[in-house]
Symmetry: C2
Subunit: 217 residues, 2 copies
Amino acid sequence: MAVAELDASPWTRPRERGRERAIKRDAVLRAAAQLFNEFGYHDTSLAMVAARLQVTKPTLYYYIRNKEEILFECVRLGLELLRSAIADAAASGGSAVDKLEAAMHEYALIVTRDFGMCLIRVGEDPLAPPARKKLRRLKAELDHEFRALIEQGVAEGSLAPCDPKLAAFTIAGALSWIGRWYDPSGPLGSEAVARESIAVLMSGLSPRRGRAGAGAR
Amino acid sequence: MAVAELDASPWTRPRERGRERAIKRDAVLRAAAQLFNEFGYHDTSLAMVAARLQVTKPTLYYYIRNKEEILFECVRLGLELLRSAIADAAASGGSAVDKLEAAMHEYALIVTRDFGMCLIRVGEDPLAPPARKKLRRLKAELDHEFRALIEQGVAEGSLAPCDPKLAAFTIAGALSWIGRWYDPSGPLGSEAVARESIAVLMSGLSPRRGRAGAGAR
């Protein structure tokens, strides 16, 4: 009876409250990322974020300090998603080329979604130098992990010899660009875009000879 | 004697004046592009542009109306350089794959230079909707010309079968990205970067079999 009474309290219990706050903060960040991606960082106001969530602007300040903090968190989350996708791929079994393809696939999908797209479309440029510096360090780590996968592939012979640094930039550029032009409400599915872009990067534009027909990939 | 006296006039002759104005306007745009590329659009002021050119801010207004007009012109010039590089390549002799490689090579070099880099690093996003719309139309034309080269290559068999639209985006992404990370004062030459990126895009990351050794590109 006492327990039932406690459950029936109209106030949220402390542990629940922490979880609820995290969910709501994520909703604030996600709504802001969508608006940044659509209208650009400078043309998005906190009033627009509040309107999209159907709350008042003061409510937002319970979860975030200001627009700069929102952008920092959106870009950080985008980078964190990419970093963990590459780490997961690197930790999976298989050859280096399998790991690289898995990492590329996740990378392409992430930049079509809210935080990954915000990382590409807005990025750290509008932020103050200390915030920019932190995010650039995370980016450099990401480049490094991508490059390490390519170096492994070249060493084991599952990738063609190349300059791993420039190859990593070429891949990152081709995949990141998807976040610039991709329209989630458009006719192309993100899976198909990821597959085709990766096919071009793995097989190259030149026809491969010595395989079944010119159409072989 | 009369002619010598005219030549000795301390005022510039009208025809010369038009040319001089164009040269000075270009210098204003170029200095601004360099500052935008280094500090970002929002952190660059007209006072900084004037200081770099060692002129007063009012002098700048003889050549441009405001910062928005400068960015519009920088991005437009970047797009114009790319468009004419692709058109030149398309008009040159040779197979479609030769034309495509020539266009890619020029594209990669252009994005390492002032206006091309400004197109990639800043782009049209900070501008008002009508200006943004004009520049996006130019971009769409560019995409279309790139795609046409790829379609020709696939049709004549000098390129592997692919989705020309997605292949064009993949190439444009990989090459545009160079403008994001390339440091003209760094150790890598732009020619070497262009060559290596194009090699990855043409040959792919997977080893090509049936040619001399694993190292063959």
